[in-house]
Structures are given as C-alpha cells and as structure tokens.
Assembly symmetry: C2
Homo-oligomer: 368 residues x 2
C-alpha cells in the first residue's frame, strides 16, 4: 500500500514536470499527431498503431514474444515539412533503463532527412522521462525548404502517442512509404538493435536506407527461439521475402528441432517468396570463453546442416548466408562480446547488403 502511494506521487510529480517542460518548449510550435502521417517499417497493420504485430490474433505465442512485439522497433514516422524546427512528443512506459542498451536506443527517437538520394541523419530526441511523455527539439535553425523526413521510434519500448512539432506557420504532410516491397527479418536482439547507438542504426533500418527496400524489424531480443507458434505467425504475415536471423537465441538442439518447421511453414503459406537463413554472428567473447565459442560453432554447423537438408528435400527459393568475418577481424565490433555496436553493424551491413540484394533482385524486389 505504501508502495502504491509512492508510485502515484511519483507519477503525479512526473506528469507535472512533464507539463512544465511542454509549456516551455511548445510556445512557438504546433503539434500534429503522427496518426495523420505515414508509419514506415510496418509489417502488417495493427489495432494499436505503434505495435509491430496484433499478437492477440495469433494463438499460443510465448508471452515475452507477444510483449516485445509491442516495442516500436523499426517503425518510423514519415512526413514532409518546410518547418525550420522539428520537434517530437512521444510517450514511453515504465520499463526500466537497461544496463547495456543505449538510453536513446531504448526509449529515444532519431531523425533522418533526405539529402538528394540519401537519407541523412539530422538529430536525436533523448528520453529524459522514463515513464511518461517526452518532448524534445530534434533539430532547429534549418532553412525553410521542403524536406522529406523519417523519425525512428524507440527500439525497446512500447510507444503510446507520437506528435510531431513544427513552426506555427509551417506545413506538414503525410508522404508515401519511402521503401519498396517488404522484407521481414525475424531474429534476436541483433535484429532488434541492442548495441545500436540510436533507433535508426539497427541493421534492418540501415539496410532500408541503403537499398530503398523495406526491411521490417521483427527482432525479439532474447526470445527468437523459433517456437512453432511464432513460425505460424510469421508465415501468416504477407511479405515479399523472409530473412531468418534467429540462431543466436537458440541452442544446437533447438536448431535441429525447429528449423525445418519454421522454414516449411513459411514455404507452404508463402510459395514463391525467397527465404534467406543466416548463421549467427560470431560471439567475440567466445574466442576466450571456450564453452561459448564451441556452442556458437555448433549452432552455426547445425543451422547449415538443417538448411542443406531442406535444400536436398527440394525446398524451393531457400538461401543461406554464412557469417565468417561478418563483424570484421579486429574483434572491436561489439558492445559486450555479443551485440554489434554501430561499428559492428556497419561491417555487418556492408557484408550482408550485396548478398541479400543479389537474392532479392532475382525476385524483382528492389527500390522504387
């Protein structure tokens, strides 16, 4: 009871502090709900705009997977504006700050603006309020030419409500989804974006900006275990291609037990669509930790054997990507021995991009 009272007091204090900040900063801005703009990076439409999947529609999902699919990973607000300032308000939950994820990656936002043919980084919004609503000016003092914008939402929190703030006299419009087709990437924290320094640096987002193809982030940190119920869900999401980067959270036995069901289920429900299976990135700590090192080797051997067996059984449109040196050779590409940093992701993206686009181009999956 005492705890509850404290909690209520805390929420009231936070709400009050939040309003104060809002009042100070919004004097010269008007705010538009992101609901009236375009949401980029969605695999499927959902009841709650900022969920990735309506998990209630799929029976038997592991509760943690269902919860993680409410994280807004990979989603971005797409709009055009001639405002000289771009601000954002966004509300996050009471989930605790992580001891390993960058605060901006977990609960913050980042903005890209089109410069010629390139999506170019412009600024971040830090989450100073952990449980409640944040308001941050992302970039200001720009010229007033019309700009195409993409604001990435938090990777590791469920977002309730996003508004974009602009100059009172400026205009803002919804704009078309900038990325073509849909390539769903199912995987672990490495897909989700744990080691990225901000939401737009997760590797599916980087691949989208580099290729113009819409890579959908279906990363579920720590929980990409290829459960049959998850396989059923993935197979029901219509996409143009499927990338399975789900080795890291499993173990060698689970890979033998579950890979065939996952691939065959997607294959049956989505005939003719390419399925690309990836080995796990090497775990840098595994160089020294001999047990961990051997486990990752066994995982990667087993996934390769599973895919070879499926190909021998004549499963069509199935591809495999090995992971040697995907993070470079200097062992400096991870934040913790497991999760790539922006440096590791950069190396990963440069390694993956030609391999993935080569497969996708066979199916006419390319930028508009």
């Amino acid at each position: 009871m005492k705890f509850n009272i404290k909690k209520i007091t805390l929420i009231l204090v936070l709400s009050f502090a939040g309003s104060q900040v809002f009042a100070q900063k919004t004097n010269n801005l008007k705010y538009i709900s992101a609901q009236s703009l375009t949401i980029s990076g969605k695999g499927i439409s959902t009841t709650n705009t900022y969920d990735r999947v309506d998990t209630a529609k799929y029976k038997g999902l592991p509760p943690r997977v269902a919860q993680l699919l409410t994280n807004s990973a990979g989603l971005a607000i797409r709009f055009t504006t001639n405002s000289t300032v771009i601000s954002a308000k966004w509300c996050v939950t009471r989930s605790r700050p992580s001891t390993v994820v960058m605060p901006v990656t977990q609960k913050g936002v980042d903005l890209y603006i089109k410069n010629g043919n390139q999506w170019q980084f412009a600024g971040i919004g830090k989450a100073t309020v952990n449980n409640g609503c944040n308001e941050e000016i992302i970039i200001s003092r720009m010229d007033n030419s019309e700009k195409e914008c993409l604001l990435y939402l938090p990777l590791f929190d469920a977002v309730t409500g996003v508004e974009i703030g602009i100059d009172r006299k400026a205009e803002i419009k919804a704009a078309a989804e900038p990325f073509a087709k849909k390539v769903l990437i199912y995987g672990s924290s490495i897909v989700h974006g744990t080691g990225a320094s901000r939401p737009g640096m997760a590797y599916p987002a980087r691949l989208s900006r580099l290729t113009g193809i819409n890579f959908i982030n279906l990363g579920v940190t720590g929980s990409a275990k290829m459960e049959p119920e998850v396989a059923d869900m993935i197979a029901q999401i219509d996409a143009d291609a499927y990338i399975l980067d789900c080795v890291p959270n499993t173990n060698p036995d689970l890979i033998k037990e579950r890979t065939a069901y996952l691939v065959n289920t997607i294959r049956k429900k989505q005939p003719g669509k390419p399925i690309i299976v990836m080995q796990s990135v090497v775990r840098e700590s595994g160089y020294w930790d001999k047990v961990l090192g051997q486990q990752v080797k066994n995982q990667n051997i087993n996934i390769q054997q599973e895919v070879l067996a499926l190909l021998q059984k004549d499963v069509k449109d199935l591809y495999f990507i090995t992971s040697e040196n995907m993070l470079g050779t200097d062992h400096e590409g991870t934040v913790d021995g497991v999760h790539p940093s922006d440096l590791g992701y950069d190396r990963m993206v440069r390694y993956l991009q030609p391999l993935i686009t080569e497969v996708l181009s066979k199916y006419d999956i390319k930028a508009q």
Copy 2:
C-alpha cells in the same frame, strides 16, 4: 527530512543487495586489490589511485574540471594471470545514469587480453549498482595459460576501490605498463569517450592499443575550455607530447582569446616536446542546423589561424591536424550529431593514427 530518510533507506537496501550478490558469486574466487597491480594510462601519480590528476595541487581550476579529473577515464588495471575466470569488483558514486552515455561506458569496465601482438577484447562488466559496489564476472571458461590482461575502468565516474577476482588456485601478478612514453590528450567529451560503447573504445585507448604508445585521456566532458589555470596545470604534467583536441567545447572568440596562452605555456614549460593541435570534428547536426554548422566552421577557421600565427612567431615543435571527413562521408558516425559512436571513433582513429605517429616518430616516441 522525509527525503533524507528515504535516501538512507535506499542506501541500506543497495548495500544489502550488494553484499548478497558478492556472497553468491565469490564462492570460488579470490580477490586481489588492484592497488597491488599496475595502473596503465596515468598521466601523473596521484594520492587517490583512480583520480587522473591531484587537482588540489593546481590552484584556481574550474570546479567542474577538477571534479571530472576524478573520473577514471583512460585508466586500466594491468596484470598477468593463469586464471580461467576473470572477475572484478569496483565501486562507483551516486552520479545519475546519463541519457546519452552508454551505461557500460559511464560506470562499467571492459577487459582486453593479449593475443600475439594484439590486445583483443574479452568481455565487459556491467554496472548494475549505480551507487555502490559492483561485482561481475567478465570472462570465464578460458584455458589456464598465462594471459596478459588490461581492464579499463569507467569513463564517467569516480571509482573507489577495484579488486580483480581469479580462481582460488590461480596466480596473478603485476606487469609492466604495456604502452611506451606518454602522449597527453586534453579535450572535450570526444576525448573523454561520451559516444563509445564501453571504456576501451574511447579514442585515446584505441590509439594506445593500435600504436603501443601511451595516450593519456585528459578529456573533461563539456568543460575543455582552455582556461589559463587549466593551461598551467597541463604544462606542469610531464609528458613526451601534448595533443590539444579542445576546440569542440569552446566558441570562436574563446579560441582567439585562449589558444596562444595554452600553447605558449606548454611550450615554455616543456621545451622540445611536440604539441599537436586538432580541429574539431564536424558536427553532423550542423549540416541541417545552419547556426551550429557555421559556428563549428568558425571555430575551425579560428583555431587554424591561431596555430598559423604561432608558427609565424616561430613557436617550435607545433603541429596542426585538420578534420575534414574525419568521421567519414555518410553522416552515420555519431550517436547524436555531435559525439562519435564506435563507428565514428573507428574512422577517426584510422584518420589520426598515421598523422599523429608521423609527428611522434620524429621525436622517437614509439612502441617499446
């Protein structure tokens, strides 16, 4: 009063929780105080081992600079051991978690082990206790060959007490400072390591591992403003070379006002030692924020003019490094438009290393 009681309760709870954790994990380990090992990366010996400078010895330092010099940035514990496990206990202060610095970078530790001629990353210790003592197993299940180790301490906290944990039957020894000479780098958050994913990824640490030369981190985040008192302090620290990467925290006027005094003071006190002045990295947000963009341009123009003027006045052993494209050309190298991520630091290090070592080699400053 109510607040104070809560605070005391919280501290007691944390202390108790801390003891529990220690008791659980230390069963099979013995701990050795880092005081009996070697501290790498020190510019000067200090009363408190984990301070960077005894600031009480230097009069009139800005209080924030003095406080930041108690952060253990750039310091690392150097030892050899044949233990199959390496663990650490380290105590941090009540400073609040940052909204932009990675938690491991702020209050955590990371370990490198020598592999042939290369220092190779092995693991991290997350700070799960913000105000008190942490204990974390950094790496385990290694073979029992003798290994040379380097454990980097938190970049953004003052550390009180560090112990290294090893197998009960294993040995641990102090080892010589692995890096030769002393090259002091004075600068802002970019030297200090704000955007690094862990302590060992700050750029002075990366330069040390890559070159074998001892680059001393004298980064004071947000506070590298070339005050005369700070100039006096730097000039009194005996080093083999001085790198001044202190443009980012200043403004164009301060650069005109203070650069000559800083350079001349070091020159007078440390004749014959090279002084390398660096331009500021470009601020990626400044591409869009026209005021910020112009300010950084003006800072970089002014620092170049100041150095040219000093050279024209025949100041000896003075060098200058410009910063174009130091972070690459894709605008993806920062965490927030200002601070390099591991990716930006990697590009910066590859750009700086040949320029800096070329100067240092003229003075016979090189690896042992």
